[in-house]
C-alpha cells in the first residue's frame, strides 16, 4: 500500500528536531528501513515525520583512548560492517552485520534506528546488551540493559533522540562468538546468540551471553553465565540458556524449536568465544 499523508520536516539541528517532536504525533525517521514498511502497511499514521538525516555530526565512528568506541546514531549498517576500527576493537559487531538483511538495507538502515525500533529479533539491540553499551540521547545516557522495555518499545520519550552509542573497551583476553539461525539469508533470526568470555589465567573473569529472538527484548541469561567456570562447562551453560528462555510459537517456528536453537547456538557461540579468549594474542 501507500503510506498515509503526513507533514515532513528535515531539521538541520537536534534542537530543531526535538522541538518538532513536541507534537506527540510526530515520529523520527532515520534510515526508515523499519519505519517505512510500517507506514506502507498503515500500521502507523504520524502527523509529522522528522527526518534527522540532514543533521550534521551524527554519523561517525570514533576511537576512545582507552580502547572503546563511540558510534554516531546515524551511522549506517554498511559503515559498521566495513569499518576498520570496528573490526579491530569489536569484531563481533562486524560478524553480526553480515546477518543483517541485505546490502540495500544495510546501506540505508542506521544503528540508532535499529536500536530505537527495538525489534527483539534484530541483531543490534542484542549486541548493545552484549557489549554493555551506553546509549546517549538528547536527554541522558542510558545503559543498554535499561533501554529496551518490550517488543518495539524503549524508554525513549516522544521528544528524545538517540545520538550516540558508547562501547566500553573490552577487558584483555576477551573472546567473542556470534551465532544466528534464520530460514533465509537476511531474514530476522529465529534465534541468535552472542557471547563474550573474558579469561584471567585459566579462570573465567566474566562471561556474557545474550539471546536474540526468544524473548520480547534481547535477553542476557545470567543463570547460564554463572555456570561457565571452565571449558568443560560450556554444555551445561548452553543447556541453562536453553531452559531460561520462553519463546513464542509462531508460523516461522515452534517455541520448542526456538528453545532447541538457543541451546545449540549458545554452545557454538561460547565455544568460539572461549577459543578466541584462549588464543595467544
Amino acid at each position: 500500500m501507500k503510506p498515509p499523508a503526513f507533514e515532513y520536516l528535515a531539521p538541520r539541528s537536534l534542537e530543531q528536531a526535538v522541538a518538532a517532536l513536541a507534537d506527540g504525533e510526530a515520529k523520527v525517521i532515520a534510515g526508515g528501513q523499519s519505519l517505512v514498511p510500517m507506514l506502507n502497511f498503515r500500521l502507523l499514521a504520524p502527523s509529522l515525520l522528522v527526518d534527522i538525516n540532514r543533521i550534521p555530526g551524527l554519523d561517525f565512528i570514533e576511537a576512545d583512548d582507552d580502547g572503546g568506541l563511540r558510534i554516531g546514531a546515524l551511522t549506517r549498517h554498511y559503515t559498521l560492517e566495513t569499518s576498520i576500527l570496528v573490526q579491530e576493537r569489536f569484531p563481533v559487531l562486524r560478524a553480526a552485520m553480515a546477518h543483517v538483511a541485505h546490502l540495500a538495507i544495510r546501506n540505508r538502515g542506521t544503528i540508532g534506528g535499529s536500536l530505537c525500533h527495538g525489534d527483539p529479533a534484530a541483531e543490534l539491540p542484542g549486541l548493545a546488551l552484549l557489549l554493555d553499551a551506553q546509549l546517549k540521547t538528547t536527554q541522558r545516557t542510558v545503559a543498554a540493559v535499561d533501554f529496551f522495555e518490550s517488543a518495539l518499545s524503549t524508554v525513549l520519550a516522544d521528544d528524545e533522540i538517540l545520538t550516540e552509542i558508547q562501547l566500553p573497551a573490552p577487558t584483555p583476553r576477551t573472546g567473542w562468538g556470534f551465532e544466528e539461525f534464520a530460514r533465509r539469508s537476511g531474514d530476522f533470526a529465529l534465534a541468535a546468540v552472542g557471547a563474550t568470555v573474558s579469561l584471567s589465567g585459566d579462570a573465567v573473569a566474566e562471561a556474557r551471553i545474550v539471546v536474540i529472538g526468544a524473548h520480547d527484548t534481547p535477553l542476557r541469561v545470567s543463570a547460564a553465565e554463572a555456570l561457565l567456570t571452565d571449558r568443560a562447562s560450556i554444555a551445561a551453560a548452553a543447556a541453562a540458556a536453553r531452559d531460561a528462555v520462553s519463546p513464542n510459537d509462531d508460523l516461522h517456528a515452534s517455541a520448542d524449536y526456538r528453545r532447541h536453537l538457543v541451546g545449540v547456538l549458545t554452545r557454538r557461540a561460547l565455544t568460539a568465544a572461549w577459543q578466541r579468549a584462549a588464543a595467544p594474542s
Partner: protein, 156 residues
C-alpha cells in the same frame, strides 16, 4: 520543491511528502524501468542507486532524495549499448519474465563495486534480497560470476 539528478539529468519537482521514491521515478519522471513489487522492502525489484549506494526506492521518500544523485536501470545502458552486466544477463539468460531484472541489475552493480564476490556463495548471499518469481536465480549467479571473471582478466 526538490532538486535531484537522475542518470545525470537534473530534475526539479514539487512532491507530496508521502510520495515514495519508486513512485516518483515511475509516475513523475516516467522512468518505469524501476519496478515496484512488494512495497515493504522485501522483494528488491525497486532497487536503485542513491549517492552511490543501492537502496530500496520503496523504503525512501522522494522528498528525502532532495539534492541527491540517483542511478536507475535506464542509466546503465541502452538496447544498442548494454553495459557489461546487462550483456552478461543477456548471454547467460539471466532473465525470464524480467520483472525482477532492474533490481537484480542495480543490486549487481553495487555488489560488484563493494565485494570481491570470489565465490558463488558470496554472490548468492549478495542477491538474497532480490526475489525472482520465475525462480531463475542460477543464471543470474552465472551472469554476475562472468562479470567478476572478466574484470579479473582485465586487471579489475
Amino acid at each position: 520543491m526538490i532538486r535531484l539528478t537522475v542518470n545525470g539529468v537534473a530534475y526539479e519537482r514539487e512532491v507530496e511528502p508521502r510520495l515514495l521514491l519508486a513512485d516518483f521515478l515511475r509516475h513523475d519522471l516516467g522512468l518505469t524501468g524501476t519496478h515496484v513489487g512488494c512495497e515493504q522492502g522485501v522483494c528488491g525489484a525497486c532497487t536503485v542507486i542513491l549517492n552511490g549506494n543501492s537502496v530500496r526506492s520503496c523504503l525512501c521518500f522522494a522528498v528525502q532524495a532532495d539534492g541527491c544523485e540517483i542511478e536507475t536501470v535506464e542509466g546503465l545502458g541502452s538496447v544498442d549499448n548494454l553495459n557489461p552486466l546487462q550483456k552478461a544477463f543477456q548471454e547467460h539468460h539471466a532473465l525470464q519474465c524480467g520483472f525482477c531484472t532492474p533490481g537484480m541489475l542495480m543490486t549487481g552493480v553495487d555488489l560488484l563495486r563493494k565485494y570481491p564476490l570470489a565465490t558463488d556463495a558470496e554472490i548468492r548471499e549478495g542477491l538474497s534480497g532480490n526475489l525472482c518469481r520465475c525462480t531463475g536465480y542460477e543464471h543470474v549467479v552465472q551472469a554476475i560470476r562472468s562479470v567478476v571473471a572478466a574484470e579479473a582478466e582485465n586487471g579489475g
